[in-house]
């Protein structure tokens, strides 16, 4: 069974705000998510202690981005804030990302009039790796 989700993952998260999808490109963010996966819920201070390599301010800014993306949930208790993984939000985030790149894929079709010199048919991208 297939479910079409075109436009279902609507504008509440702007994909342009959230292109940093690759955790490999940001080890701190990966570490934050890994620690939350192991511990469940943590305060910023405790999280910063567990992440270890960066300070509380850096951890807070990563948490803000992760929360905007819907991957991390925030809970307030008095003056304290606690963070945990939001698995449903993470799945939604993955589809927001997929939807945004599919949209980008069709938006990038160049339908301006073709230049005079076209590539030979059957010889596509010969010079590319």
């Amino acid at each position: 069974m297939s479910t079409t989700v075109d436009r279902c993952y609507g504008p509440w998260v702007d994909p342009k705000e959230d292109l940093a999808f690759d955790a490999l490109s940001d080890r701190v963010r990966r570490r934050i998510l890994s620690v939350l996966g192991e511990e469940g819920e943590l305060s910023v201070n405790r999280l910063a202690e567990r992440v270890g390599t960066v300070g509380r301010t850096t951890v807070s800014s990563h948490l803000r981005l992760l929360r905007t993306s819907g991957i991390v949930r925030e809970r307030r208790e008095g003056r304290n804030r606690y963070y945990s993984l939001d698995t449903d939000g993470a799945v939604r985030d993955a589809f927001v990302y997929l939807q945004s790149i599919m949209r980008q894929a069709v938006d990038d079709i160049d339908d301006a009039p073709a230049p005079a010199a076209n590539a030979e048919p059957g010889e596509r991208g010969r010079d590319t790796g």
Binding site: A105, D108, G129
Partner: protein
Amino acid sequence: MHTTVAAERTVALAPPEAFALFGSPRGEGWLFGARCDSVAPGAVVSMRLPLDERGGTRGVDVLGRITRVVPSAAVEIEHTQPWRGRLSLRFTPAGSRGTRVQVRASVPPEGVEWLLHRRGVPLPEPPDDGAVRLGAITTASGPGAVYSMSAELMARLAVDEINADGGVAGHRVQLLTADDATDAEQAGVEAERMARLGCRAVFVNATSASFDAVRRVLDGRGVLVVHTVINEGGGDSPTAVRFGERPQAQLDALVAPAMRRADARRWFLVGQSYVWSHGAHASARRAVADAGGHVAGEDLTPLGTTDFTGTIERIARSGADLVLSSLVGADEVAFERQSEAAGLRRSVRTVSLVLEESTLAHIGPRAAAGLQTALGYFEDNPLAGNDGLLARYRDAYGSWAPPVTALSEPIYEAIHRYARVLHTDPDGGPSAHAAALARRIPAPREETIGSRDLVAPRLYVAEVGPGGLEIVDAVAGR
């Protein structure tokens, strides 16, 4: 359950014009910069998903094949990397001179899981159901994804067959898989997870750098580590086993014959700046000297290099007649395509150490014509049992599944062999199992699938001809 994600747009082009943009240099910007040499069923296609940081240049390649083409109307693609899924394009007339272009991606749960994991979200940990857990670290993204297309499928096939046969010592076998992203640090992270989940053995079907990282992480953890692809050797430990071809044996099979055929002596070595090429080129210098030749130059580039213009210019300036490439994956694809485009084939012959069917498909038959290699397995090799293996593989994964290669068949055999060891000695530790796996089997006159010597495989020398990699000679292993 697969989920479909779709997008569409009406463009001011007639359907044949919009269709012609797919895969063409002019249309490179759309559908993730799809590249293919022809738009026909069976043609390989690669696209790049923008996964990276804002403004970054990295991405992840989607690698697959075109499975169906209706000219000016439809293209269907099945892809294997970074997950198995389907993409379809539809071109329908819209108004007097417009086309409605629809793109639909069918994403399986494994695809969503891959994306979440890549995002950094920890994967759910499966409950312990008493199964014997094995890990397989393969490469689904990064430059190594090209040569690892069928590795996970072959690991799954082995485990499915073991379970269909009753499992190991009364227990079902469960396979945990991971993508190392052609990144040694990531391989170490995945190995850590596999150890935490109780894997008794981890099969590393990835670069030597990833194997080293996994071996270090799992040292002293009671987990056997098995490297299942071609490697430069070394790094031995009582709980780690390395299978696969070694460059010394490959070079013994390739160097002197190449010099005789070309009546030439000057070599240029091209490789990557990590442990595999360092080891391979040390062997190459010995083999070239033994054959009476000499090395006129060497270039080592970082893994992930896409532009080899400088290397090709240095080869041309060196006066070399022969090139040895130890490049792997997407780097080898880029180098060979650019070498052919630059006219280098007219003046030099090239032998390549890691040229299997998947890499060849991405280089393309024209750019790869005449390249030689020596590996322990080719899809059309004469081994008894090979036809049956390929039939089971196609039954399990379909006719468009990527080829079985020297970089995927050994993980199938290694897992079967480990299951036999474990069945015989279920309480043994990783050292005893490593020793049993590394024990050389007296070579039968006729090797068969399942009884190949994985420690020192018999090599087949092959050359790229009109029919793909054609075996021209068979030589004993080291």
